[in-house]
């Protein structure tokens, strides 16, 4: 993919930690720079020219992002600082009590466990040994659930869940559905209408956008809910007697938002749409294929589905006899940057019966030869540790 020139930081080394956060292309940085240099003002407040320009650009950014996720109405998009905030906001808007049943899966990131654990009864759907949701267990656990919250793609296993089907099943049981799309939106086409979920959370910073960006898609049904963050921007009117909340999405965005971030977020979505999400996916599958091929001798133990169709462009693995931190440290000494540990998914590591794992996660700027490089060093690590 001819994008490497857009990422000067690639000269620092081979970056395989994209699931944690991605690099940002020049175009995104330029968009943010341009906004602050030429248009900066607060939105929705002033009637002066700069404020108007900023408001327009802010709204336009939502139009771009609604196109990116297939939402028909840009007003369904609420900006948050990351997927974690999005999931917390969804949990708040669902107005749960300790008696309510919420179904999650064994492959969650902590950000899709904790917002539910503190205010409801959580029931956990099991996964198969290959890391795929056990559909029979899903069927039985969603009975009587008020909410089903699940990842579109797992940040450890890479599993792409059949969220369209699972959402339909959950809705048939009368449950509301929340999708954690933090690990899917950067890598595959996400279509909120097709999925049919009530809420969908995305981290902008994992898809080429600046830090502090993310969104929560909120379905119309929840547009009248009481906001979580109360303050400026969330109301039409306040008197000493009453409060009249503003419409969506302002209602849910208390205070001055990250306007420059929003501009960058939209530019990142545009950048990805210019490449085409199908091409992003194809590229990542080719890297995955290379990884699996280079591992034919089973140098490392791989977690998650073996069918590449079922996984995103990341591989969690262990080099037998070597702790993941040692693997990551050694790779770092060779300028290859991967993640090690439990990736904010402690229950999943417990389920897999492993203390930790190493994770190489790919993106548009990674190359086949970088994957080969990784394996060369992994072989070296095996040698020196044996």
């Amino acid at each position: 993919m001819d994008v490497r020139k857009d990422f000067p930081i690639l000269k620092r080394g081979i970056y395989f930690d994209n699931s944690a956060t991605s690099h940002k292309p020049k175009q995104v940085l330029a968009a943010v720079f341009n906004y602050y240099n030429n248009h900066n003002a607060n939105i929705h407040r002033g009637i002066h020219r700069l404020s108007e320009e900023s408001s327009e650009r802010y709204e336009d950014s939502k139009k771009t992002l609604s196109k990116f996720i297939g939402a028909k109405d840009w007003k369904r998009i609420v900006y948050v600082k990351n997927a974690t905030e999005g999931l917390n906001l969804a949990s708040h808007l669902l107005n749960l009590s300790k008696k309510d049943k919420v179904v999650i899966t064994s492959m969650e990131h902590h950000s899709n466990i904790l917002p539910w654990r503190v205010n409801s009864q959580v029931s956990v759907v099991d996964i198969s040994s290959e890391g795929v949701i056990d559909i029979e267990d899903f069927k039985s656990k969603i009975k009587g659930a008020k909410v089903v919250s699940m990842p579109h793609a797992s940040n450890v296993l890479g599993t792409i869940n059949e969220v369209e089907l699972l959402t339909k099943m959950a809705h048939e049981e009368g449950a509301k559905v929340v999708i954690d799309a933090a690990q899917s939106a950067p890598h595959l086409k996400v279509d909120v209408n097709k999925i049919g979920a009530d809420f969908l959370a995305i981290s902008g910073h994992k898809m080429l956008a600046p830090g502090g960006t993310g969104l929560l898609y909120v379905s119309k049904e929840f547009s009248e809910s009481t906001p979580f963050m109360l303050g400026g921007g969330t109301v039409f009117d306040v008197t000493n007697q009453k409060i009249e909340w503003a419409d969506m999405p302002e209602r849910f965005e208390g205070g001055t938002p990250n306007i420059g971030g929003a501009i960058g977020f939209a530019r990142a979505a545009e950048y990805l749409m210019e490449i085409g999400m199908d091409n992003v996916r194809k590229h990542e599958v080719s890297l995955l294929k290379n990884f699996f091929k280079l591992n034919e001798e089973k140098l490392v133990e791989i977690y998650g589905p073996h069918s590449l169709k079922l996984r995103t462009g990341l591989v969690s693995f262990n080099l037998p006899g070597v702790h993941s931190h040692d693997v990551a440290d050694f790779l770092n000494a060779r300028n290859i940057f991967i993640r090690s540990g439990k990736h904010c998914a402690h229950p999943l590591h417990e389920r897999l019966c492993i203390p930790s794992s190493a994770r190489a996660s790919f993106y548009i700027y990674n190359t086949l030869s970088e994957v080969e490089n990784l394996f060369e060093v992994l072989n070296e690590i095996k040698e020196v540790f044996s």
Partner: protein, 117 residues
């Protein structure tokens, strides 16, 4: 300490791991990476007469447990309680460890220090 030296110590540490006669056993964990360490102490009149250990974890934490056993054997409990993290790192020649690995090195030591009464 450079990587080659660390690897040598790690291999030695793995081969010398054992549970020797003790009158106190303490266990420690570094949750975030799954490191586990068990220290077997033989304490006589306030002195750490012997320290042996078992550990599963990364090369850094296992090496640290090994060096801890070597360096702190013979010291009094009072001396160990007075030892700061920095002093410990210096003692085992790991002051230059990267910030991200500090937890790995310190797990055995903090386990010991917090369990001496």
């Amino acid at each position: 300490m450079n990587l080659n030296k660390l690897l040598l110590i790690y291999k030695k540490a793995k081969s010398e791991m054992e549970e020797r006669t003790h009158n106190k056993k303490i266990e420690g964990k570094n949750i975030s990476c799954g490191d586990e360490v068990t220290l077997f102490l033989k304490i006589e009149e306030g002195i750490l007469k012997d320290i042996s250990f078992e550990s599963s974890g990364c090369a850094v934490s296992i090496s640290s447990a090994f060096l801890l056993a070597k360096q702190l054997k013979g010291k009094s409990i009072e001396e160990v309680k007075q030892l700061s993290n920095e002093e410990y790192l210096k003692l085992i020649d790991m002051e230059e460890i990267s910030t991200s690995r500090r937890k790995c090195v310190l797990t055995p030591f903090i386990t010991l220090r917090n369990n001496l009464d």
